[in-house]
């Protein structure tokens, strides 16, 4: 672990702030990969989906508390922090700005460098750290992102992604329309489902599209099909699509390690399907505990540590958030598989 930067003569400590969507998190990580703290607070809307402004308000309310408890957990004084990292994008503008503001203030106060981390890269890097994966094929599935990616020549290349909405967004939205709330509610209700009704699976090579599926499932529900059956049909369909495109990518890249990261990676059923899929390819699905699958501050801190070790700092002027920041825009000087 910490393969690259434990070569540095002196260790250092990185503090990372996550605030792209519903989670405000602060993580503290040492340069050898030891996670010292991972604290967070999640905004849960009373009704409906995430409203960016309300989420941002939540984040600014909890920020100092989460920050304080992360420092306490790490048993470090603020003076031991050597670099401050924050998720600069992609994500919801108001949420990102809240995290960025906290990060700027903290970096200035401590007089340490600032690092702007790509949220998607961070999901992958924490997965690699925790599993020891060297050159994995990655499925990144969450409420706002769905993509298949792997490292090639200096960057994470996107092999396939959603053409419209994210897989998590599809299931969350369905749950909200159906009155049961976002994931994991649809998956829980699916357990009581008996009959599967085929839905249109729009797959294009390694790309997927979920908006047609969402509409079809919603109209299936309003036509009187029992809720558990619709839940079973939509979850099985979404997971089948994801597993199918991941298998196509695996057959193409012939990778030996598979990582699934992002909030939807917590789904037991999705993991089970992928586990079954990878077997005949002589690949391994690596396990990451739930705490580090969803959005968290530790992943930002760790990626911040990698970037700090490679001098990838930004000035305050350059720290404007990037709501549409794509994973393949980031240079990954540490990514080369050994």
């Amino acid at each position: 672990m910490g393969i690259i930067i434990d070569n540095l003569e002196e260790g250092f400590v990185s503090l990372g702030i996550e605030s792209t969507a519903h989670t405000f998190g602060v993580g503290v990580v040492r340069s050898d990969g030891k996670i010292l703290a991972n604290e967070y607070s999640v905004y849960r809307p009373v009704k409906g989906g995430i409203h960016p402004r309300e989420a941002a308000q939540h984040h600014s309310m909890v920020a100092s508390k989460v920050l304080a408890s992360a420092l306490e957990k790490s048993s470090l004084s603020p003076r031991s922090i050597d670099v401050v990292a924050f998720s600069i994008g992609p994500g919801m503008g108001p949420c990102l700005r809240t995290g960025a503001t906290v990060a700027r203030a903290l970096a200035l106060k401590l007089g340490v460098p600032l690092v702007g981390v790509n949220h998607g890269v961070a999901h992958i890097e924490i997965g690699k750290l925790l599993t020891g994966a060297r050159d994995p094929l990655v499925l990144y599935v969450a409420g706002g992102n769905t993509m298949i990616t792997t490292y090639l020549e200096g960057r994470y290349r996107i092999l396939g992604e959603t053409l419209d909405i994210a897989a998590g967004n599809c299931l969350d939205s369905f749950g909200i329309t159906a009155g049961i709330g976002p994931m994991p509610a649809p998956e829980i209700h699916a357990k009581a489902g008996k009959v599967i009704h085929p839905l249109p699976l729009r797959v294009k090579g390694m790309e997927v599209s979920f908006s047609g599926l969402l509409t079809a499932a919603e109209s299936m529900l309003s036509s009187g099909v029992p809720l558990p059956d619709v839940c079973l049909s939509i979850t099985e369909s979404v997971y089948s699509m994801l597993t199918e495109v991941l298998e196509r990518a695996l057959a193409m890249t012939k990778k030996e390690e598979v990582l699934i990261v992002g909030g939807l990676a917590k789904s037991r059923r999705l993991r089970e399907m992928i586990e079954l899929m990878v077997r005949p390819h002589n690949a391994k699905l690596l396990e990451i505990s739930d705490e580090y699958l969803g959005d968290n501050g530790a992943m930002i801190a760790w990626t911040g540590a990698l970037m700090h070790a490679h001098g990838m700092h930004i000035s305050i002027d350059e720290s404007r958030v990037r709501p549409k920041y794509r994973i393949n825009e980031v240079e990954i000087p540490w990514g080369s598989p050994v």
Binding site: G143, S173, I176, I196, R248, K324
Partner: protein, 224 residues
């Protein structure tokens, strides 16, 4: 011979020669039918998938593939000839195209083969112009035989005049070329569009280009 349920022919008509490719979705065999070499494309059941979804998917894809292949052939695109279809078992018997996948050709001799970018542009242009889309037009699904491009793997194809489907095709071309051949990608895509424009004209080209860019930018989030 290991191919189940082939009813039109009896088992002695076929001989299994060898597996050619074990892909994500299908297993491809070389077989002979009364001495003639053919390809058998078998869509195998996926144990990870629920049985109802699995059957539905395999049947639909097999049907799509034969339908669009015949239509593409009619409009002058080089595709393998279909010999026989066993729908209940999701097997297509077709001509064995003896050539090299474009994927390999591009790795081995990148510069000399940029000409295929234009050919691909013309092929997709023809398909879109005739209301067809391929659904997976990547270099693994193109075979180069005697300097000529042949398209295969029509399982994800369909009929549509919707610019969204056409843009999704081009998006895949761009994506697969950029991720596998970053160095030559720019040239390849430029030549691709040139070929596409030759067939469809600059108006359609601009319309599809615009939609491709839009797909890339699209917010991946809806509100409920």
């Amino acid at each position: 011979m290991g191919l189940p349920g082939v009813e039109l022919f009896d088992d002695t008509d076929f001989r299994l020669v060898r597996p050619v490719s074990i892909g994500a979705e299908a297993t491809i065999y070389e077989v002979t039918l009364r001495g003639t070499p053919l390809i058998a494309k078998v869509r195998v059941p996926k144990p990870y998938r629920n049985a109802v979804i699995d059957r539905d998917v395999r049947e639909r894809r097999t049907l799509n593939e034969v339908r669009t292949m015949s239509k593409a052939h009619d409009i002058g695109i080089v595709v393998p000839h279909i010999v026989h279809v066993d729908l209940p078992n999701s097997i297509i018997f077709m001509e064995y195209v003896r050539g090299t996948e474009l994927r390999e050709v591009l790795y081995k001799s990148p510069e000399t083969h940029l000409k295929f970018a234009g050919d691909l542009g013309r092929y997709l242009g023809e398909m879109h112009e005739h209301g067809l889309y391929h659904g997976d037009p990547t270099p693994a699904n193109l075979i180069v035989r005697d300097g000529e491009l042949c398209i295969i793997d029509f399982g994800l194809s369909g009929y549509s005049d919707d610019v969204e489907e056409h843009a999704a095709d081009v998006n895949l071309v761009e994506r697969s070329v950029y991720s596998s051949y970053p160095v030559m990608a720019r040239d390849f895509i430029e030549l691709f569009w040139r070929g596409y424009r030759e067939v469809r004209g600059s108006f359609s080209e601009a319309e599809v280009k615009k939609r491709v860019a839009e797909i890339r930018r699209r917010a991946r989030y809806v509100m409920r």
